[in-house]
């Protein structure tokens, strides 16, 4: 009886959300998988031709797609590192006893509120005008120039802006984590004469593992599917040097009108990424200290 009761509670707590989630996310995704086996332009009235695995075969020879997938991986790795380093540093700073911490917390978070086209406008201006100006004034013209016009640096520009946008976001996740660390632990270590670096390494960092798991995964997932920063800042250019994955799919589906092929790309990429990130979640989850 107890077991049945527990199942009852289990269903009561989880089913409402899972039903909504299934309707909104799971079913449409499965329908999308179905389309991946067809040659179809995405217009309801036009013919859908079943082509089996043809879309998946073509994909392996699609250089533009392979390049885009590689760029996405590169972008994501760089972004995950820089967002988390900056975000964690911010979190540590604003949870210290500084008087301005409160104000700074709000200021550092604000970039996350700016998205879409406005973001592109501001940063294009910064790279175009402010960076070139800085270059002229400081003489460091090899660092400060218009990054957006350089095939390599345009990707760094994306990482830069993404970090600016997301650092405040992961900051609040880290703050919530830091708040959960018992003060006595830190105090005790202080009395034992541990330096602040030692305290961070031996106490804070291990106890922050849940926050790490979350922040790493969030930045990974946002990095892999980044779209609007990509669109508004570089539009994929110059010369496709920053056409990241979501944009590549979007162009395939709505630009070239290859709906089925675009879905095939999405699925293959999804499987690869899910495998990588699920491993990451699994590993870091294992390291979390259960209290």
């Amino acid at each position: 009886m107890k077991n049945r009761k527990n199942i009852g509670w289990y269903l009561l707590f989880t089913v409402p959300l899972l039903v909504i989630f299934t309707i909104v996310v799971v079913i449409p995704f499965v329908i999308g998988i179905y389309y991946a086996f067809f040659d179809w332009d995405g217009i309801g009235a036009n013919p859908m031709v079943f082509t089996g695995l043809e879309n998946f075969r073509v994909l392996l020879e699609d250089e533009r797609f392979l390049r885009s997938a590689w760029l996405t991986v590169l972008f994501t790795v760089l972004s995950v590192i820089s967002v988390n380093v900056v975000g964690l540093a911010f979190a540590l700073l604003v949870t210290s006893k500084l008087k301005l911490a409160n104000l700074a917390r709000t200021m550092l978070f604000m970039p996350y509120l700016i998205g879409g086209l406005i973001l592109g406008y501001i940063w294009q201006f910064v790279f175009l005008d402010v960076f070139t100006l800085l270059g002229e004034v400081t003489g460091f013209e090899s660092i400060f120039f218009n990054w957006l016009n350089n095939e390599t640096f345009a990707l760094f520009a994306l990482v830069f802006v993404f970090t600016w946008q997301m650092a405040g976001y992961v900051m609040i996740v880290y703050i919530a984590g830091i708040q959960g660390i018992p003060g006595e632990l830190v105090e005790a270590a202080k009395i034992d004469g541990a330096s602040s670096w030692q305290r961070f390494l031996n106490i804070t960092a291990p106890l922050l593992m849940p926050a790490f798991t979350i922040s790493l995964f969030l930045t990974l997932s946002y990095g892999f599917k980044i779209y609007d920063v990509n669109l508004s800042l570089t539009g994929g250019g110059p010369a496709n040097a920053t056409e990241l994955f979501a944009m590549n799919i979007y162009n395939e589906i709505f630009g070239y009108g290859n709906y089925g092929y675009g879905q095939a790309k999405a699925i293959v990429f999804f499987i690869i990424i899910a495998a990588i990130t699920m491993t990451q979640v699994y590993i870091t989850k294992k390291r979390e200290v259960e209290m």
């Binding site: 217009i43 309801g44 086209l117 016009n149 162009n251 630009g255 070239y256 009108g257």
Partner: protein, 415 residues
């Protein structure tokens, strides 16, 4: 057993919660009831976002006159094609929508209502209707044109009348430290519009493009394209990189007198109005291969969704008819939308100098067509732009290599 009751109650609660999430407040919005009754109402979804407010005003005026409800659906422009596709697919498509050109119409063929027998079609200026096979399926918004927009105080049209003098004019400005000719980084302003010339100068551009797709002709073997490559080289050599310019700074620099000429269309006059421009502006043909005509075409067309029931289709046609034949409707087109009419029964209004130049060219028939309306769908943003960006980034890429890249891009998109 007592628990089972609890469970049932709980599940009911959970289910009603999710239904609540679905319906909560649904009744007090009143929207759903409205759309149910408004079977005679029509919806419009269109791409030229700057006329949104004016179109809503026109719709309101129409509703007042006839009692028919007209809803204008908003879009930011960039996502128009995608949204239209999604709406058409799930059966919630608009009654009237805009179609840019024949390529797009082809794809959406099964949604295009045949307008051939409607009265207003007879008033469309020659060659300005959008047709698929023998059917007229689109009513033109209006006429637009582009060319070299120049500062009359800085440039004498005689100095840009042929390619050689155009290039030496550019060199002259470059020596003075002035930007002689501005393009900008956005797809249509970097390569889309300017790439028209070598195509439009062919004897029969549409036929040429078909042959190109079939591999019967090659861009590299066509002299106009060789010259176009050279012209692009000259532009790259003598002006700042267009990749560092946005549409806004391109027009702004021109208005401020920092740029002598820009490649632009009559639509730019709207933005020039917002600057205190203290010189006269003119529009001149881009002198590629002896060209002396402006490129004039139709930016977009009104189409009627054939997937709707006949009552809604009739309602849509009546609205378009009203817009193009009634006095009130025509006034909206000319004064509020600011279009150069592409209908013989509509008089043009007071026009800015650029639109005036386009109208005169259009009336005289001395124009070259917009070939880009016949390019493979989306080839400009997807394929031409990366090629042009490579060209402007890599100084050692030659004009011939640009043409090769454009040809490859065309073949990629035409598949």
């Amino acid at each position: 057993m007592a628990f089972n009751k609890k469970l049932v109650t709980g599940m009911t609660l959970a289910a009603s919660m999710s239904v609540l999430a679905a319906c909560g407040g649904g009744s007090d919005e009143g929207s759903n009831g409205e759309s149910g009754e408004a079977a005679e109402g029509i919806t419009i979804f269109q791409t030229k976002v700057e006329i949104s407010e004016q179109l809503e005003a026109a719709a309101a005026a129409y509703t007042e006159e006839t009692g028919v409800d007209v809803e204008v659906i908003g879009t930011t422009g960039d996502d128009y094609a995608q949204q239209l596709q999604i709406r058409l697919n799930n059966g919630t498509g608009p009654s009237i929508f805009s179609v840019e050109n024949a390529q797009v119409a082809q794809r959406l063929e099964s949604y295009m209502y045949d307008l051939s027998n409607e009265d207003m079609v007879e008033n469309i200026a020659p060659d300005m209707e959008l047709a698929l096979d023998d059917k007229v399926i689109g009513i033109p918004y209006g006429v637009e044109g582009f060319g070299i927009v120049y500062n009359k105080e800085m440039v004498d049209p005689a100095d840009i009348a042929d390619m050689d003098s155009f290039v030496s004019t550019l060199e002259g400005f470059n020596a003075e430290g002035i930007n002689g000719f501005g393009l900008s980084s956005e797809a249509y302003f970097l390569i889309g519009h300017i790439s028209n010339y070598p195509f439009s100068l062919q004897e029969n551009p549409v036929e040429f493009m078909e042959q190109l797709t079939n591999g019967e002709v090659s861009l590299t073997d066509t002299p106009e394209f060789g010259e176009f490559g050279e012209a692009m080289e000259a532009i790259r050599a003598n002006t700042p990189s267009p990749l560092s310019t946005t549409y806004d700074t391109q027009v702004g620099d021109f208005a401020a007198g920092k740029t002598a000429m820009i490649h632009q269309g009559n639509w730019a006059s709207g933005m020039l109005d917002e600057f205190e421009v203290d010189f006269e502006v003119g529009m001149a043909p881009f002198p590629l291969a002896g060209n002396d005509q402006l490129a004039v075409g139709v930016g977009s067309n009104w189409a009627v969704n054939s997937d709707k029931d006949q009552a809604e289709i009739d309602g849509a046609i009546e609205f378009l008819d009203w817009l193009h034949t009634s006095e009130t409707g025509q006034k909206f087109i000319v004064e509020d939308f600011g279009f150069i009419p592409a209908m013989t029964n509509i008089e043009a209004g007071d026009l800015d100098p650029l639109s005036q130049a386009v109208l005169e060219a259009s009336n005289s028939g001395e124009t070259i067509p917009w070939s880009h309306n016949y390019y493979p769908a989306n080839v400009i943003p997807n394929d031409f732009t990366p090629a042009a960006e490579s060209f402007f980034v890599n100084e050692d890429m030659t004009g011939d290599e640009l043409i090769e890249a454009l040809e490859a891009a065309w073949q990629n998109a035409a598949q």
